[in-house]
Amino acid sequence: MRPDGVDLLPRKIGIFVDGIPYEGEGTLNTNGKPAGVCSLLRKAASGTQNNVYVDVGQFKIPVGYESLASVSALPLVERALMFTQRDPFDGGYGMYVTPAFSSVAHKGSSTTGLTSSTASVIGRTLLLSRTPKPFWAILATSLTSFTAYSQESAAAQATPAFARQVRCCRACVWIAAFLTPSLPTLATG
């Protein structure tokens, strides 16, 4: 359940075209309106290093070990502050679009006093694969995602520095995409 009290129910469908399975995953809220769509393109041969898919929807923020690890497996009772207080969704959920930036209104959290109620835009870019990944590929993707995630200040978006950082972000994504045979898969749980 999201912090705003909306239940999300996963739904999956899949089709085969010329031997290639296409899987789709939709998310519905209690009102029956689509809240997110995940499309998956996977080659027929399992274990290939060229699996590429695009996810669009609501996911855990793909930054850091504690963000992606199951809460039941954490060595400490709570996740770090950057996940519990800085997350504008207050629950580890966010939205990102590959490869373009997405805009998400910041909800703020006046109860904790740790975040202001200023509107902000969050951009995330990520390329994913379901195959095993080297550590440095995980690091590169995490840094890229974090750089995008840090662009949260509404005032900063109007500055040339913000534009430079966006370009840097995109460049990092494409460099990582070309240099790594595979990139991290988002964990769930």
Partner: protein, 93 residues
């Protein structure tokens, strides 16, 4: 700018010590900005892995004042310094 670092060590297969330094500055250049630092010492006893365990955390939190001004402002400054002891039992099935 947030940052954290964690360190854990298993003294025995069932007993684990953990430590985390946690830092958060929301860095919005706005009234109400604050900085929080947590020092967390943890002790975990695994009865059956993560399916049955007991965790104890000793947390020392230091919260700084509003960073947007150089003068203390009681209206916006946040002082949440505190020490907490959290004990959690977990059973997953």
């Amino acid at each position: 700018m947030p940052a954290y670092g964690s360190l854990g060590y298993r003294f025995t297969p069932r007993l684990e010590g953990a430590f985390r330094y946690d830092f958060l500055n929301v860095d919005r250049d706005a009234t109400g900005d604050t900085t929080v630092r947590d020092l967390i010492f943890g002790l975990n006893y695994y009865i059956k892995g993560n399916n049955a365990k007991v965790q104890a955390n000793l947390i020392r939190r230091n919260g700084a004042k509003d960073l947007s001004g150089t003068v203390a402002n009681p209206a916006t400054d946040i002082h949440n310094d505190r020490t907490e002891l959290r004990i959690q039992g977990q059973v997953a099935f």
